[in-house]
């Protein structure tokens, strides 16, 4: 049952072959049995899940079920869930029980989906390996001494290991696509503003965007349809009509124009990863797509620009964690300044503190023009360059990451080396473009991903292209050893 697609599970529920309660118990049992080795969940909520499952079964009995009613899923622990701890992977929020639901949580719940729990992540979504979590690292199901990627490492590992059919995730600089690639699952970062950020704990507000993590593009289409859409409670959420994503999956690849940025195939790219990506591209060519080289020279400045914009916005957003209104407070503060400083010093982990300090420096008096303003100008160059590329091609493809998953501990002592693992993903965030990653091969038993970047609001088109690729290949059906 855990290997079925969402459409197949939905059909099994509709045909009364299985109830949501049975499905939910099945996945809860898998989590209990298998997650000890992965640490992909921070909180499992079996009672709440079974209650939601029974409600879903009742809805179905009354003839009120939608296609997702009764399907289990889990949320990245960055989404506020009413009455359930929402930790964001941090000691700072270890004791935080949210008083309200994020819009994404509310919408999944309205669709009748059953939440199994909250998934592990890098602290405040700052990391590319899931090693910065206060709750310990997540292990890659393919090789457990390797990282799952980050920051949505728990979401990727849980989906890859078939502990959940689907998960939510967030992407500020690659945090959906990079772990999806390293765990061999499908992950979509929608256009900035497509999905509401309300109740999604803010990291870098001009970049953050939520999206689905699933085994296939078809499953992602179902999830996106339930998550996306205008929400007046998020001031940056866009009023743009939704598409019927599942209905748009079957579109021919004939005539599709694919652009390959030469900068994404140069120095730093692992040779076997490059070979896997080229094999994937051959699948598109065989189906009638054309491939041409393009240049995204400015996007090679995306990592430097990102490490101004993201820390600057994080230093501002995370100023709310002050030990006064909610979250961690230090023991016996001697005065107010001591309360602020020690609550933040003890409540935040090393990477979060590093980024707050970089951001504080970049925004401090006299440096604004040299850092934040400069980075916002580089963003414009990157966005304009993509605009010119989309005059010539329909979709931009390349490797999602420079190589497969690395070992736990391998990059923790060098922040800059860690940052470069997002070198191909960050530009889409800076430009606000939709992008996804699909499994495209295995290198030494570890998955690698193919990234596709589309034009604004092209989520439906990207999912269709990915779906066609998944009709021709079976990388997305491969299961990590021991999790079949």
């Amino acid at each position: 049952m855990h290997d079925k697609s969402i459409a197949e599970m939905s059909a099994a529920l509709a045909g009364r072959e299985v109830s949501s309660e049975e499905l939910t118990r099945h996945f809860l049992a898998r989590i209990g049995e298998l997650d000890g080795a992965l640490n992909s969940f921070i909180t499992v909520t079996p009672e709440k899940a079974l209650e939601q499952a029974r409600t879903a079964d009742e809805r179905r009995a009354r003839g009120e079920a939608g296609p997702l009613t009764g399907i289990p899923m889990a949320h990245k622990d960055i989404f506020c869930t009413r009455g359930v701890r929402t930790s964001c992977g941090s000691r700072m929020l270890d004791n935080f029980v949210s008083p309200y639901d994020a819009t994404v949580v509310e919408r999944m719940s309205a669709a009748g989906m059953v939440m199994l729990g909250k998934l592990n992540m890098d602290e405040f979504a700052m990391g590319s390996s899931n090693e910065t979590s206060y709750y310990g690292p997540v292990h890659n199901p393919w090789q457990q001494d390797h990282v799952p990627g980050g920051s949505s490492g728990g979401s990727a590992a849980a989906v890859a290991a078939r502990l959940v059919p689907a998960a939510t995730a967030t992407d500020t600089g690659g945090s959906i696509r990079q772990p999806a690639a390293l765990c061999g699952v499908t992950g979509l970062k929608p256009t900035y503003g497509r999905v509401s950020r309300y109740g999604m704990i803010a990291f870098a507000s001009s970049l953050d965007q939520a999206g689905p993590m699933t085994r296939s593009a078809a499953d992602a289409a179902w999830l996106l349809g339930a998550m996306a859409g205008f929400d007046e409670r998020d001031s940056t959420c866009l009023e743009h009509p939704l598409e019927d994503y599942p209905a748009l999956l079957d579109r021919p690849l004939q005539g599709l124009r694919i652009g390959l940025p030469r900068e994404h195939f140069g120095e730093g790219l692992d040779a076997e990863t490059a070979a896997a990506v080229h094999q994937a591209l051959a699948v598109f060519e065989a189906a009638g797509a054309t491939v041409k080289e393009i240049s995204l020279a400015h996007s090679m400045l995306s990592v430097p620009a990102y490490y101004v914009v993201a820390p600057a916005e994080c230093s501002s957003n995370l100023s709310r964690f002050d030990g006064v209104r909610f979250g961690y407070r230090c023991e016996e503060p001697v005065n107010l300044e001591d309360l602020y400083k020690r609550s933040r010093g003890e409540g935040f982990g090393a990477e979060v503190k590093r980024r707050i300090l970089v951001g504080t420096y970049a925004l401090s008096a006299g440096y604004y023009d040299a850092y934040y303003l400069k980075a916002q100008k580089v963003r414009r160059l990157i966005k304009d360059e993509f605009g010119r590329a989309f005059d010539e091609v329909d979709v931009i493809m390349g490797p999602t990451t420079p190589g497969p998953a690395f070992r736990i501990g391998e990059k923790t002592s060098d922040p800059v080396a860690m940052y470069l693992s997002d070198i191909y993903t960050i530009a889409a965030n800076l430009a606000g473009l939709p992008a996804l990653s699909v499994p495209a091969g295995l290198v030494n038993g570890l998955p690698v991903g193919l990234q596709m970047v589309g034009n604004y609001f092209d989520e439906g088109r990207l999912l269709g292209i990915a779906h066609r690729f998944q009709q021709e290949t079976d990388w997305h059906r491969r299961t990590p050893p021991g999790f079949a």
Binding site: N95, F96, V97, P99, Y192, G193, S206, E232, S235, T236, L238, L301, Y307, V308, S315, S319, D322, G323, V324, R325, F326, G327, R329, P333, N335, L336, E337, D338, L339, Y340, K341, R344, G345, F348, K353, R354, I356, L357, V358, T360, Y361, A362, S364, Y371, L373, K374, Q376, K377, V378, R379, R380, L381, K383, P415, V416, Y419, A431, G432, L433, Y456
Partner: protein, 95 residues
């Protein structure tokens, strides 16, 4: 860009983050390395480029100035470290 001990201490103060004395050299090194990475932007001439605030150039939506939220003080304060009579408690600020 190389930051020294004093720089790190003053940034940490601005950010209201207590850092251990022993960790200051590591922060100075890591922050300096990150700023070196960031300085790669300097090679691009951006004098005539308009900064990008929103990828789709969206503007802030406005709404009528009416109360839409109900008072949920008790619910929100339920998770606070220290509260009394509806007020958040902090160490004494004025002697």
């Amino acid at each position: 860009m190389t930051l020294d001990r004093n720089d790190v201490e003053s940034i940490a103060h601005l950010a209201r983050i207590a850092i251990d004395e022993a960790d200051i050299p590591d922060y100075a090194r890591d922050l300096s390395n990150i700023l070196d990475l960031v300085d790669e932007m300097a090679r691009e001439d951006t004098a005539d480029v308009l900064p990008l605030a929103h990828p789709l150039d969206a503007v802030q939506r406005l709404r009528p100035d009416i109360v839409t939220e109900e008072d949920r003080r008790a619910l929100f304060q339920a998770g606070a470290p220290a509260v009394e009579n509806g007020l958040y408690l902090v160490p004494k600020v004025i002697e």
